[in-house]
Every structure is written in structure tokens, then in C-alpha cells.
Amino acid sequence: MMRDEMAVSIGVLVDAGADFCDIQLQSIEGLTVRSINGRLRDLEDRSAEGLRIRVWKGGRWGYASSVQVDKASLRRCCDEAMRNVRGDRPSVSMNAPVNVGDHRVRVGLDPSKVPLDEKVAAVLDLDGAQRMDGVLNRIASYSEETKSNILLNSAGTDVSWNEVRTRFRAMSVAADGPRVERYYDGPDGCRGFELVKDTDIEALGRRTAKEALAALKATAAPSGHLTVISDPMVTGLLAHEVIGHAAEADEVVKGRSFLSGKVGKTVASPLVSLADDGSVPYAHGSVPFDDEGSPSGRTDIIRDGVYSGYINDLVTANAMGVTPSGNGRAQDFGRRTWVRMTNTFIEPGGSSLDEIVAETKDGILCDKMVNGMEDPVGGGFEAKVLRGFIIKDGEVKGQVRSFTLTGQALEILRTVDMVGDRLELDGGMCGKGIEDWVNVSSGGPYLRSRIIVGGG
């Protein structure tokens, strides 16, 4: 019913003068269960439904979105989007590849079919498994989200798809007098409740608690320009913050990216290959289609140290004369759709972690990220690391507490001299600037390079 109305509205918008338009109908079902110290803190059942209309004309998007999903609201949004679209510069003509189809993801255990009490029990079990002397706060959480989308556009695209994501996480906060430290762990991905079923809850909880307690004995990290071995999670953060954001083609088109004009040029050690791929099975950032109806796919950003390409949405792909890469994404129906990453990672190489450590005379081994920040203009970055280990004469020595990495992206990538042999991805949320959060993952292998390290 609504699909038919959407198709009619597309015709109305084109008749009214739209160069291009699309309409997305989205529903979101979510659940969060979270406990602290055995007490249920959040048990929240969430749902949302809304529609979003975009009209392209005169080099500008006119948007309108509403949570009222009916024929009258659709008409009002069409009027509003047309009112907003008056443009003032030459328009890129929007050639959008036509995609048609219905893509339903298959997960092992559909979260909506699993009783709520089973989810609550899993969270409380994970909370209880962290019980250990010295652990001040035991935090356990389970979240699930299913997004269902229908998207039609004036080029003829008519697609529908869904996305299912779950996350199961433990965090222990340990204290010794005034000193407080933490550790977290847990799986995530485009999977169903099997993500929890496949987890050894007791082992996850105990490991998290033990590592939080171990952090209490960690010393301050050294400062300076050091040899750094990043773990897969921190390697992913580097891939995402150092290169990924600057590879978003909207930044390139407007000259805001330090990677503008770099295609075909050597920008990194030949050991470095970096890609964005929204089609990695089960990865947290995977999407069948982006929020413009383009199928997700793989973009080689750096291949053997040579810059290869940018990730695109419809506008930037048309401006650059390339095919959209499936990276036009939005937080939800009420937010801006623009170029965003999916799963961004550095490809594995040929060294084992043992070999990398053995070959390192003085350095620091990173373990787990906290967060990071991009700098597409200046080519810098900031990556906060949860903890690390000192490497001395090829051996892992004492643990150090949280610290931060920074430096110039291209200088760091040129110093990469050893690349691990195993790729791992870690899921999270990515903001563009300071808002517009989308699901992504990032990762890579263990990686050795030279980076500025400072206390955190």
C-alpha cells in the first residue's frame, strides 16, 4: 500500500521538476538489556517508523522526513522537500544505476523469536561471571536492532532489505583505593541471537574482570615518537581515522581531504593495502544496500602502498564519473545521507605476532581501542588505546595503562614495516564530525609502524 503511494509520489515529484528524487520508508525495532552489579539498569523495547524524501534539483538536496507514515504525510513531505530544493549552482546530473529486488538477511536465531527472559538471563549471567574481589562495577549488556527498508527512486530503483545486528558486551571496572581502571570485551555483528548462544558467557565475564584487575598494576605509558605494534582493533582505528574518513569522496570533491588528487600515487609502505567493503558476511558495518539503494561492495582504497580510489555516494560518484560504491548512508530516516564507511580494514600480510614482537627491540604493543578522531584536512588523527605492553629486546614486558596515538597519516603509513597474518574486525559506531552515527566495523592485522605516543 505505502509502496504504491511512494511510487505515485515519485512521479509527482518528477512532474514538479525534480531532476532526481528518492523516497525511503524505514522501520527500526530494537531492544537493550543492561545490568550493573546484578541490578537491571535498562530494559528497553524501542520501535520507530518514518519516511524520508529527497529531491535533487539545481545542485542541492531538499529533504523532508516524518514519523507519520500515511498518504497525507507523504504528500506533505513531497511539498516540503520541493520547497527546500531551490538551488543556486550548476547541477550534477544524477545517473543512478537501477536496482530492483528484495534482500532479506538470514540469521541463525531471529532475535524477535527469542523470549525476552532468555536475553535478560544471558545479561545477568554475564554480569555474575564478572564477580571477583576488587571488581567495583560489573556491567553487562545485550542489544539488538532490526532495520527494515523500502527505497524507490526516480531512476527506477525499487529495493527492500533488512539489517539485523546484535551486540553482547561485558565491562568490568576494578578499583584499588583511589585508582580505577576498566576492561571490556564481547562480540558483535550482523547476526542474530546465535551471537549470544555461541559465547562462553562465564569465560567472557571472568576474562573481562581479570583484565580489569590486571590494569590496576599497569604503569604509565612512555611518551615520544615510538615503534608501535597496533593490535587488530587499533589497526582498524588507524585504517578508519587515518585514511577512511579522508577517502570519503565528498571531502575530496570539495578539496577538504588531504587525499585529494592522490590516485595512482604512492602514499604508504608497499606492505599496506586498505579497503572498505560493505559486503563482508556478518560484519557489523555490512549492508545489502546503502540508504540510496546502491548495492554495497568493495572499494580498494590503497593497494600495495599506491592510492587506488575513494568511496562514493550518488552525488560524488556522478561528480567524479564513477559508479556509486554503496557508501551513501544515514543514521536513520531523519538524518542526512552522505558518504560513509562500512567495514574498513587493512589487509593481512605475512608475519605472525610472535615474529613481529621478536623483531622489535624497543616498542609498545597496543591492545584495544577506546575511540578516535579523524582529520581529513590536516592529515592527522587521534587514536585512544585502552592498554598496552612494553616490548624490549623482542619480548613482551610489563603492561602500561591507556595512552593516545597521533601523527601524520601518510608519514605513519610509510613507516609500516611488518604486517600480521590474521585479519580481525571489530564493530562500533562512526560519527562524521561529531554526529550522524552509523554502524561500522574496522580492523586489520597486527601492524608495526612509528607513531607519536602520549599519556592518556
Binding site: 530494559l43 542541492r60 611518551s223 578522531m373 582529520d375 607519536i452 599519556g455
Partner: protein, 440 residues
Amino acid sequence: MDLLRLNEAALRSLQRSEQAEAYAVRSRTYAIYVDDGRVSNIEFKDDAGMSVRVMDGGRMGSAASTLGDDTPAKCARRAMQAASMSPVDATLRDFSVPRNAKVPRPDVLDRRISENGPEGLVELAEAIVSAASPAKVPRGLLRAALVETAVSNSNGVEVSQRSTMVYGHFTSMVMGTSPGEGVQSIHSNHLDMDADTIGSRLLVSARAHADAVSFRGQEELDMILPPSELEDMTLSSIGSALNGENMVLGRSPWKGLEGEQVTSGCLSIVDDPGSPSLLAGCYDDEGSPTEVRTLVADGELQGFMFDTFNGISTGNGWRREPNDPQGSYRMPVRIGPANLRIIPGRLSLDDMVAETENGILVERLAWPEVDPLTGRFGLELRCGHLIRGGEVVATVKNALLAGEMFNAWKDVKAVGSENVRGARTDVPPVSFAGARLVGV
């Protein structure tokens, strides 16, 4: 759409439960995006939703949804279902009880926003871009919204509020081999900002970034943090330490220190929801009255902030994010300040620089956030001015500014005289001892 009536409908469906609460919110937002110096997107968002919380037999559950015809009944049913699956919690506290407002209704409604389309915003965005010239504005966002909220509960609370908000975030750059990027943010309830002032600040900031050179070596020095960078560092350190939930859970470094010195004696900190700011109002998002509270007086801790889940509410339970009203019905209640103000001192920024022997006047950090548990920070310096003997001698970048913020608050050297309003703070520049700058 009467939000209180929708709340009533939800509560009617929950008459058999011991306690129930309904929160409804509607926002009407225009957002203007600037890309490469031109308005690229004009967006209208009509958002409305409801969240229902239920307590029954020592169990609590909640459900939220966008607003449709059956939303009150659907939320009520799903919240009851969630509560029925929750374990019994003997420590659950009551939802808010009816209380009179403690602050006068602040001036937070601008009819130019509530009654007009996007034209005024487009003009303002274009005027800012023009005023920043010859710097270009690669990215800009100007968002203005009318926000209506209503909270009702089975204890008799029934409050509704309306406000308007404007949030802006613009970047600027001058071209060159290593341009860097300046930033200016705007937070207001009114469309009262001066485009020329914002634009000229963008130009100055862009030029400062372009002039910056990589910092080499490492040294201990004083740091002067401007309001733009101090806001998040204040919220992630002092805001977290004052959070009643963190105190209850034992992880606030200020637990058990009421009446004791927790910061330098030159600091006094007040939460002031009665002055115009993005969360200003007479009630929080649980329907508890907000109040002007001194939290730190001359460095001495006076008290913590609470919602109803963690203690006797001080009117600090929020679902809304100040910069973006969309989707707040989907957010859980969390403790936070409405408008955390550091009482200004007497020194101008120039005086603070003149009194600094060896320091860094920060212009911009990548993400000015402190680890709330440990107070540690290691932040990428995007642009800062080195001070030697009371004068700025160089502008630097590509370095880490590191330290421990709870200690830094105890070692404040000067508090500036000019406050700037942020999303949920109102702070002046502050000078601290004991930071470390690490370069290549």
C-alpha cells in the same frame, strides 16, 4: 497533537500497575548544510515519539516508539511485558512526585524559529560563509528546532514545556600546502547570532591553523583551555564526578568528599537551568523540578546530581540531547547538568597569557575528552599557541597534550572573565598547571 493527552492515554492503559510514567516529545526541525561554501541541503524533519516506563511488583520495564495512532497503548503493553521479564529489584525508587517549579520560566522560545520556514536560517548560513571570506567554509551545519515535551505519571506529575534551539557548527580553511581547519560552534535558544562575528572568528581560526608548524620534542607546561575545548573536558571530568549514579556505584573520584576541597579554591560551579540554554526549563525529562544548584563552592564539593533511579531527584534526569532533538524518546534517562556554569574570574584572556611563563594556549583539540574514570587525557593538538615569558611566540600542531584532569582542576592558575555558552555548559577560559606536550 496534545502531548499530555497522549500521555493520559498511555497511563490509562496502565492503571493496574503500581507506577507508570509517560514522556512524549515532538520536534520540528530545519537543518541547513553548507558544503564547499554553498548551501547544499535544506532539510525539514517532523519527529514525535513517546516513552513509557512501568514499575510493578518491584520490576521495571520501558518501551518507546515514534508516534502513531496506537502508540500509547502499544508502548504501555510493551513496557508491561518488559517489566514482567525483569527480576525483582527491592531498591527501585518512585517516579517523580508533583512539585512546584523552583526556577522562573526561562526565555527559551523564539517565534522566528517556531513559526517560520528555513529562509532565515539559509540567510544566516550564507552570511556566515560570506563573513569568513577569504577563508572558505568547507562544511557547515545550522539547525533550528521547536521542541515540545510532556511528562505525566501516576503520582500526579503533569508538565509540558516548549523551547526553541539553534545549533551551528562551521569549519574554515585557507588554502595552502598544510591548511588545517578552524571551527566555530553556536548554541542558542534564539536566532540572535551575529554572522559577521562568527565569520571573522572562522577566518582568524583558519589562518592560525594554516600558520601552525609541527611541535618537536616534549615538555611540561601550563595549558590555557578556551571555552570551546573546555566544555567537553569539563563534562567528562567534573560532570562525571558530580553524577550521582557514578557516586552510588563507587566510581566517582569525589565519592564521600562532600564538604571537602575537590578543586582549586578559585573555582565555583553552578548548574543553572533557569538561564537560557539548550536544556533550560523548569522541569527535567522525568518531570522533576530543576533548580539552580551550587555544586562546587570555592573548590568545596556541595553535592551531586540525581535522577529518580539513583536517589532523590535534583532535576537532572535527561533524555534529550541539547544539540539535536530528534529521537529523544528512544533515549534512556541519564543524569547530567542542564547548564553547568563555571563562575567567571577577573582576568581577560590576554591577561592570562601575559601571566603565563611557559605554556600553551589551545586553539583546537581533535576531541577534547577526558577519561571519566581516571581523569587521564591524551589529546591531539590541532592548533595551539606556545607562550614564553607571557607572550605567544609560535603556533604549533601535530602534538599530544596529556595530563590528568582531576589533578589539573586542583591546580588552576587563573579563571577567565568571559564565559561562552556551550551545549550544556557556560564556561570561561581556564589556565591549568601541569600538562605535557609531546611532539615528533
